[in-house]
């Protein structure tokens, strides 16, 4: 018998806990890095030049910051969330993604950018978690906590592709720091993504070359902006494979990994 946290545990359990402790030490939760889903890192983005005759490939910070966030301190506060001292309500703005259905709603943070500053986010693929609820062995009822399986999703015939984005230049009014920030537009999940991202049933708005050009360069009506933003890329042109649960720490995170107990995705519509 060994002790952990003052409680008697078996030797086997002790080894499990110590190994888990080593794994936890590798995680940098406090920096909100990719393990938590939030990296707020730099991404490669295509944005039109001033006259919309050509475009530049630039680096922007992922995580849209509206001009009325005055400082980095403000940004951290809004991103991590805080309790409003007056109303007591929890306030948090998650601006990595912008829902296509809400882009142009009056007074929405993204409206001005969707009308005037549309861009394309370059991607080779993305990761998403599928939630499977195992059945209770005794009752046969599904358990309330899910087992999560990570997937790597990419396009079959494309090495890289474009996601619809919107961007916002931002200046820290206390330090003068200037960055351009962006958000990835999302839409309702297609047949494939409904199975993979089966809790939220959303996916990024992926655009073919023609729509990508129109999104970035076009002088578009509000109806057309919404229409393109809601584009659902065809399932049969996408591929998804499971990857190891510790994919984030791997040198090649997109390497397929088979879970024997996991049913295959239904690929036929």
């Amino acid at each position: 018998m060994c002790y952990y946290n003052g409680q008697k545990v078996s030797r086997e359990e002790f080894i499990r806990l110590i190994n888990l402790e080593k794994e936890v030490a590798k995680y940098d939760f406090l920096n909100r890095d990719i393990h938590v889903g939030f990296s707020y890192s730099m991404g490669a983005v295509l944005k039109p030049n001033e006259k919309k005759t050509d475009f530049d490939i630039v680096e922007m910070e992922w995580g849209f910051m509206p001009p009325y966030w005055k400082s980095r301190e403000d940004a951290i506060k809004y991103r991590n969330g805080f309790k409003d001292p007056v109303t007591g309500k929890w306030i948090q703005y998650l601006t990595l993604n912008a829902m296509s259905e809400e882009l142009l709603l009056p007074r929405k943070m993204y409206r001005d950018a969707a009308l005037k500053r549309r861009c394309l986010v370059l991607s080779t693929g993305f990761y998403e978690w599928q939630h499977i609820f195992p059945k209770n062995k005794r009752t046969g009822e599904p358990l309330k906590t899910a087992v999560k399986y990570p997937y790597y999703i990419h396009l079959k015939e494309r090495e890289y592709f474009y996601m619809a984005g919107i961007y916002q230049p931002w200046t820290d009014q206390t330090t003068g720091e200037h960055v351009e920030t962006f958000s990835v537009v999302t839409t309702e999940a297609n047949h494939l993504m409904r199975q993979v991202h089966n809790m939220k049933k959303r996916m990024p708005t992926i655009l073919n070359d023609e729509l990508a050009w129109e999104w970035m360069m076009g002088d578009l009506s509000e109806e057309r902006i919404t229409e393109i933003a809601k584009t659902q890329y065809a399932s049969n042109e996408m591929d998804a494979c499971t990857v190891a649960k510790d994919f984030l720490t791997k040198l090649e995170p997109a390497t397929p990994f088979v879970y024997e107990d996991l049913p295959a995705l239904e690929l036929n519509i």
Binding site: V9, L17, E21, I34, H35, K83, N97, S123, E128
Partner: protein, 81 residues
């Protein structure tokens, strides 16, 4: 790119609100508890002891807080429809 934020939920521990996110670390389930009162975040896991399953902190050393947070996490899942 990991596009979407992990699911989270709120619990109340002795009057302090905390945000809980679920993670898979080393293929095991772990909950990350971030308190609104500014104290250091706490990781909790379910471990087997001679007295049955218990909530413990990860790394070890914050057992009391882990038990309180764990109770609220269990409660959340019990009440989840």
């Amino acid at each position: 790119m990991e596009l979407f934020a992990p699911e989270d939920f709120k619990i109340n521990i002795q009057g302090v609100t905390a945000t809980v996110t679920e993670h898979n670390v080393g293929d095991q389930q772990l909950f990350r508890v971030e308190f609104e009162d500014g104290r250091n975040p706490l990781n909790v896991i379910r471990a087997s002891t001679v007295n049955g399953k218990m909530w413990m902190s990860m790394p070890q050393g914050r057992l009391k807080e882990a038990e309180l947070a764990g109770q609220q996490i269990s409660e959340y899942f019990k009440n989840k429809k």
